[in-house]
């Protein structure tokens, strides 16, 4: 199967849009991806024909939508190769998934003086929840350092897995630098000491094949909106044994079995963790998004994006006024860079004026920036629909930026 980029682009209406008189080049995929027509139409069809509240209704609409919703759960299970459907919890996004684990799991296992281990690459969403938890428990947040290429120092990591380490939380792929962490090895090392591991897969789900059984991670999470799906859809995978042991997170409808004023018993997995009316729309859309990726094939998407990364890196590296941040041996889809003597914010405005949507700033990863001694970067991040020609447009715009600001 060839990778028919024009056909793929044809499925994304927004790519036809003109910004400031130029056709849009969307290079902000790490923030959120665009949506294919199939996803947009799935959401629309849902509201036109199927909308209702699920799980407890006996009427036709409710039966039908419940079936679709649970089919979507099965689809997600297959997509990340979880062993059981009940291990798939729907959340509104990665941030909520991590907060859920910090609250319902972290609070149970963490005692005074214990440690949670993260890396210096983490997004705020995989940092602040642990920080708050550690403060509450008088525990310590330990941070595995990165080297100058933006790779987690593995020797340091292994040494830091100590007798007080109760939890490891690591990103699969860094949203600031594109580094792919060797999570499988890191998980194995933690498991040797019986330490559970959460993997923040927000940046992985749309780029590489995920297999939670092969990784053997204890928790894995990602956001639908970063993987061609609707906003408001998120996934938390957890091993059954751990999920069973955990208290609920949010409380309300759906997650209860029997409620009296004296005592409430909770519903079984996965519903125990899905309080309130589920966001059916977004979950059905997420299923369609996963279908979209499967139809292209994760491997094909991966090689396409690799080509973009290589070409883009080559082009930028050749410019003496540009410094690239993040040069890990294994990285994907993200180039973070800075101009000498041009503020990234100024550059971002000029890029925007030339129709190129990219991101400037700290990318919700201030500690990474602190470590690199900068306040932020200009970040270009690729998706399945980006092209070599668009990178050429970027290079053109770089000329413009330098002309105006250099």
């Amino acid at each position: 199967m060839t990778y028919d980029i024009e056909k793929i682009r044809g499925q994304f209406p927004i790519l036809q849009r003109e910004i400031n008189g130029k056709s849009l080049v969307y290079f902000d995929n790490a923030a959120t991806t665009q949506k294919p027509l199939s996803v947009i139409e799935r959401v629309s069809a849902y509201y036109r024909n199927e909308n209702c509240n699920i799980h407890r209704g006996v009427h036709f609409l409710s039966q039908e939508a419940t079936q679709e919703f649970e089919d979507a759960r099965e689809k997600v299970r297959g997509f990340i190769n979880a062993g059981r459907k009940e291990e798939i919890i729907f959340t509104k996004g990665t941030t909520e998934a991590i907060n859920l684990v910090a609250y319902s799991f972290g609070r149970n296992i963490l005692g005074q003086g214990d440690e949670v281990l993260i890396t210096a690459l983490e997004h705020h969403s995989n940092l602040v929840p642990w920080q708050v938890l550690c403060r509450e428990k008088n525990a310590f947040l330990r941070v595995v350092p990165i080297n100058n290429k933006g790779e987690v120092v593995q020797e340091a990591y292994k040494k830091m897995l100590g007798p007080r380490t109760k939890m490891v939380a690591i990103g699969h792929i860094s949203n600031a630098l594109g580094t792919i962490n060797p999570v499988r090895e890191m998980i194995a090392a933690a498991h040797e000491k019986n330490i559970p591991v959460l993997v923040d897969g927000a940046q992985a789900a749309s780029h590489i094949k995920i297999d939670v059984q092969e990784l053997d991670c204890d928790f894995y999470c990602f956001s639908g909106h970063k993987a061609y799906g609707p906003m408001g859809s998120g996934v938390l995978f957890g091993k059954t044994r751990l999920l069973e042991s955990m208290d609920p997170y949010q409380c309300g409808g759906e997650m209860v079995d029997r409620v009296t004023f004296e005592k409430t018993t909770y519903n079984e997995l996965p519903f125990k963790f899905e309080a309130g009316t589920p966001n059916v729309e977004s979950i059905l859309g997420l299923k369609t998004a996963l279908d979209f990726m499967d139809s292209l094939g994760m491997d094909s998407i991966g090689s396409h994006e690799k080509a973009l990364l290589e070409y883009g890196t080559e082009q930028l590296a050749r410019d003496p006024d540009i410094t690239i941040y993040g040069t890990a041996d294994r990285k994907t889809s993200i180039i973070s860079f800075l101009f000498k003597n041009i503020h990234p914010y100024d550059a971002g405005i000029i890029f925007d004026k030339t129709g190129i949507a990219l991101r400037t700033g700290n990318h919700c990863a201030q500690p990474v920036m602190d470590r690199l001694g900068i306040s932020g970067t200009i970040r270009v991040s690729f998706g399945a629909y980006n092209t070599i020609q668009e990178i050429d447009r970027l290079v053109e715009s770089i000329g413009m930026v330098k002309k105006m600001l250099g």
Partner: protein, 146 residues
């Protein structure tokens, strides 16, 4: 009668009617032939959770075969559980564990197959298979001890 024959017989009975009303009337009628659970077995532990209507299900093991009795406070649910019992009653555990229940789709009762927690059909089937599994496990280990 084999489990397949039983299913075919039920499918045939339902296929006599086109109209949902007639199908439901038949289902309700079937409920009346349910091997009714003994009142003293109507305990909390025999109650199947996840149904809007209450369903009690009890099983016993005799001569390597499983026999069920049940009841429900809703007549349609009663019909459904009696359908299931007609299919499963008196079979060896293994056959129950491996049985496929897609035939419910064929008789025009598809709505009861959806995973909504209100109808509890899934829970009923699960519970029947669990009983069968428990008997089988016990049987196998008893044998080993011989």
């Amino acid at each position: 009668m084999s489990i397949e024959d039983r299913k075919q017989k039920i499918i045939a009975e339902f296929s006599m009617f086109d109209d949902w009303m007639d199908k439901y009337n038949l289902l309700i009628e079937m409920g009346k032939s349910l091997p009714v659970i003994d009142p003293h077995h109507k305990t909390k532990s025999n109650l199947i959770s996840g149904c809007q209507s209450r369903v009690w299900l009890q099983a016993r093991y005799e001569n390597n075969r499983v026999y069920f009795t049940a009841n429900s406070d809703a007549v349609i649910t009663k019909g459904i559980v009696s359908l299931l019992i007609r299919v499963f009653n008196g079979l060896p555990p293994k056959e129950i564990i491996e049985a496929d229940t897609a035939f419910l789709d064929k008789i025009g009762l598809k709505e009861h197959l959806s995973p909504t927690r209100s109808n509890g059909l899934t829970s009923m089937i699960k519970q029947m298979k669990l009983y069968a599994l428990a008997f089988k496990t016990k049987h196998d280990s008893d044998k080993k001890e011989d």
